[in-house]
């Protein structure tokens, strides 16, 4: 066999192609269909970008969660993060926020529903939760874990942080363990001086967070308010 034979064979075998008078129309239809598909895909991608951008803008910055009791349906959560219960020590949940970054302050406006209140945080191992309220000031609590997964831990017992009768703002953030201790020591012992005239409690939290990189970490905070009915958590003498 020679190249010439091959050439002849290809020519011969491909001759007698069936005609197709509608070819142009069919190609046009394919083009329109392809354009529609790409348009739909683009719209879908655009919607996804908007959702992501909306999420980034709203969360986890300085947003305020109102005191309207939230249900689990309003707060999507990953499976690894255990949602705090609706009722804790007889008190109902009045605020709940879920976040995915460390090193950012989150604010929740809470209106007490009774004489007792409590904060329950769920945060991963290796982190600490910082909370600040007008009454209790800034507190630092180590995150609890069960079997390596974040688990709820009451960080402020009932009766210790909310003033009964009026709305209170709770500010919370998480940081890697040890960061807060070393930063507080630096501030307290003069290596870092807060500005004059600025509330010392306030500058500590902001100063702490300012120098910290934001890291991915799923965590949540729930606020309970009402009348404490569990002796393990209730403050015996008010």
């Amino acid at each position: 066999m020679t190249i010439h034979d091959l050439h002849d064979l290809l020519d011969e075998r491909s001759s007698g192609a069936p005609g197709n008078a509608r070819r142009m129309a069919e190609i046009h239809r394919r083009i329109r269909r392809s354009a529609r598909r790409r348009l739909a895909a683009g719209a879908l991608a655009g919607a996804a970008v908007l959702v992501v951008a909306g999420g980034l803008l709203q969360w986890p910055g300085d947003g305020v969660t109102r005191t309207t009791p939230l249900t689990s349906a309003t707060t999507g959560r990953p499976e690894a993060l255990t949602e705090p219960p609706e009722v804790f020590a007889g008190m109902g949940r009045v605020a709940y926020g879920r976040y995915n970054l460390s090193g950012t302050i989150t604010r929740l406006d809470v209106t007490p529903q009774g004489p007792d209140s409590a904060i329950v945080a769920t945060c991963p191992a290796g982190f600490e939760l910082l909370q600040r309220t007008p009454l209790a000031g800034t507190r630092l609590t180590r995150c609890d874990t069960r079997g390596g997964k974040p688990a709820p831990v009451p960080v402020t017992p009932p009766g210790e942080f909310l003033e009964n009768g009026g709305p209170t703002r709770l500010e919370v953030a998480i940081l890697p363990e040890g960061v807060a201790a070393s930063a507080y020591a630096a501030i307290e012992f003069g290596s870092t001086s807060p500005q004059a005239g600025v509330d010392r409690t306030s500058i500590k939290l902001e100063a702490l967070l300012a120098g910290q990189p934001r890291k991915p970490a799923d965590w949540s905070v729930a606020v309970y308010s009402g009348t404490c009915t569990d002796r393990r958590w209730c403050v015996p003498v008010r």
Binding site: I3, D5, L9, E12, S14, A17, P18, I27, R30, S34
Partner: protein, 169 residues
């Protein structure tokens, strides 16, 4: 600017030839029609950007689409316990049988080698043009062509009987 009118004129003028090329790629007229229409529809997206000689890009899309279909689709091979009968090269085969065997051998070539053979020996493209169409180097075209031709020659059905020395004596 090349618009719809130019595109339509190009499709009407070139699609019959492209259909033959596509048929030589896949060996089925219906699939060839599908292949050509798919490739030409893809070409329209970039019609304004491609040069006044759209053939190289059209060939490239055609080859790429064909290769991707070959990867995804079943090609009709049927496993069998016994190899197909091989023509006895010592028989006096007429030209028609010869061509049928060559056609069958061509169908057994890998997709890229088959594309190289078709573009080189049916479309009469230069090695450089084939390289552009296949998005590879000229060296690759040469090696693929060489392998393809070698396979066609050494295909059992095409083996030419060379008389042994004792037969000649």
């Amino acid at each position: 600017m090349r618009g719809w009118a130019d595109y339509t004129a190009y499709v009407e003028a070139r699609s019959p030839r492209l259909l033959r090329t596509a048929y030589l790629f896949c060996g089925d007229w219906a699939q060839a029609e599908d292949l050509v229409q798919t490739a030409l529809a893809k070409v329209w997206r970039v019609w304004r950007r491609i040069s006044d000689q759209p053939d190289p890009y059209v060939y490239r899309v055609l080859v790429r689409t064909y290769a991707s279909w070959r990867r995804r689709h079943w090609h009709g091979e049927i496993p069998t316990d016994f190899p197909p009968e091989v023509a006895d090269p010592r028989d006096a085969m007429d030209a028609a049988v010869d061509r049928a065997v060559l056609w069958a051998a061509l169908g057994r070539l890998p997709a890229r080698q088959r594309a190289v053979v078709v573009l080189r020996y049916f479309e009469d493209l230069s090695e450089q043009a084939v390289a552009e169409a296949m998005n590879c180097s000229v060296g690759t075209v040469k090696s693929q062509t060489s392998k393809a031709l070698a396979k066609l020659r050494i295909d059992p059905g095409l083996t030419v009987h060379v008389p042994a020395r004792e037969d000649l004596s």
